[in-house]
Amino acid sequence: MEIRVNPTRMELNRLKKRLKMAERGHKLLKDKRDELIRQFLILVRKNKELREQMEKELSAAFAKFLLARAVMTAETLEEALMYPTRRLTLAVKKQNIMSVYAPRFEWGEEESGRGEAGSIYPYGFVDTSAELDISIETLSGIMPQLLELAEVEKAVQLLADEIEKTRRRVNALEYVMIPKIRETIRYITMKLDENERGALTRLMKIKDVVRAKM
């Protein structure tokens, strides 16, 4: 299918310019796509690793927690955890991956001023079980990983969207736009050639007629 145009020389020049532009765009987008995929693969591998590790460790921490819950009454447990000693602060920066903006998390911990400074346990050890200590220690160790996972997973999601978009554009250019323009250029050149031949034969014919009359 070609684009409907007037078969004129001006149109031909215009189309040739467009073709050049489309080809350049196609090449650039293809490069972009390749680089995006490279970055994506690095990130997604990391994502998979982090997630598998996190799920394992978190499940273990939860199992311990469940044990703690079993040996302590619900009230004591809630009382023990009522006032956290720390507060998690989260700062978000932008990171630019091939002009895809993904958040980058920076976290810090603030003492909330309650309880002993520097202790991750917000409770005394009298009423609580050892399982709770272990569970909370594990959780506290996982937190940096969880936040890193949050960062990586977001980047992976955003990159996947961007790659999909870029690939669509590349394909649209490669399989629709560029062939269409080529076809139209061919059509115009043929038409122009045909006109020229038409004009030439007409001239020859007229010349014959004129010569026969003399």
Binding site: E55, F65, L88, F105, I120, S135, S140, E153, V156, E164
Partner: protein
């Protein structure tokens, strides 16, 4: 650079421990409540929201929509009963979307 908050949504048994880390916890018992809280957290400028797979499963389309945004970052976590494999499934889907084939989890041969 501004400051954001972190939250956990899930069943109480699983998420209570997060409280000691200074993460806001939102215990819920059903998907409807989880959805309401999730919406509220998104409006409330939370940067990272952890949600247990058990509830995330019911909120698939909402989470998919949020995943296209810059923030918040929603992370699925297993609950105390173990993982449902949703997190890994999502990674797989992302790979398929981006590459067109699952090259990361493909079994050899």
């Amino acid at each position: 650079m501004s400051s954001y908050k972190t939250a956990v949504i899930g069943d109480k048994d699983s998420i209570l421990g997060f409280k000691t880390l200074g993460v806001a916890i939102f215990p819920v018992t059903g998907a409807a409540a989880a959805l309401a809280i999730l919406k509220q957290l998104v409006a409330d400028n939370y940067g990272v929201i952890f949600i247990t797979e058990e509830f995330a499963r019911e909120l698939d389309d909402v989470i998919a929509e949020l995943n296209k945004r810059f923030l918040p970052s929603i992370v699925l976590i297993p609950n105390s009963k173990g993982t449902l494999g949703l997190g890994i499934r999502n990674i797989k889907q992302n790979v398929e979307k981006a590459i067109g084939a699952d090259i990361l989890f493909r079994k050899e041969g």
